[in-house]
Subunit: 150 residues, 2 copies
């Protein structure tokens, strides 16, 4: 494995929300994998509640893949201000932003949380569709294309 790039970010010099390519990895046989920071909340100024970020995880898993079938994983950050996404290929921030905007609009129209049951989820009691919708609306209202990072 050759790690081609991994971009460090100064968390005090960003303006959320934003979509940021944070890594590009090259496999031995020539495949690439890219990693994105999907940042919902301003670092160190807020967090998503565990119920809301958990529901958002369930929803993004499906909705993001409707637009980007190359996705390998989308998981919440430990800091609860966003998600990391890993996908095949050298994807652009524009393509990922398009997919995230689509997914967040879908979240707002969702009526049932997928896989929020004892068989398919590790903590089926800790969910909030209401909060997930609040977070989706906040990101869409602020706009993913007006955010910045250095």
């Amino acid at each position: 494995m050759v790690k081609v790039e991994s971009f460090q970010m100064d968390h005090t010099k960003v303006k959320a929300p934003f979509v940021r390519k944070c890594g590009l990895f090259l496999g031995k046989k020539g495949d690439t994998v890219s990693k994105f920071d999907l940042r919902f909340i301003q670092p160190n100024q807020g967090v998503m509640e565990t119920s809301g970020i958990h529901t958002m995880e369930h929803l993004l898993a499906g909705y993001m893949r409707e637009k980007l079938e190359e996705i390998i994983d989308i998981s919440p950050m430990g800091c609860r201000t966003g998600f990391y996404m890993v996908a095949w290929g050298d994807l652009t921030e524009d393509a990922v932003t398009d997919a995230l905007e689509y997914a967040l609009k879908m979240v707002i129209g969702t009526e049932e949380i997928p896989a929020a049951n004892e068989l398919q989820c590790g903590n089926y009691r800790d969910h909030s569709l209401e909060l997930a919708k609040v977070y989706a609306r906040e990101v869409l209202d602020k706009g993913l294309r007006s955010g910045f990072y250095v």
Copy 2:
């Protein structure tokens, strides 16, 4: 992208802690990427506190890579019962278990949380090295090789 396998798991029929290969992905040029479920807590019977799982995320990022340089990402699950790990290659559960045991032993001996500051972290106030050590000890005491899943 061709998704070769993605193994569904019945969360009521597992016994944590365990390391489980949950996906194997094949790139267009022949590289593979594997995905692992590093399960610390019995699903729907407990969670890691946000401070402890966040600190564990910071620590695993470094310690796991000391053994597995193929790692692309390790992120907490939204359910807070474990982590997902994504890495180059068709890694075995044994190799990942070895790396996780190493990492958890290192956690117990850690005296300072790496990157737990405003510049490098999205929520530098929400950390607990003490709790991370408790979780590491619990997993090591129960043993990763006595867990099971179907």
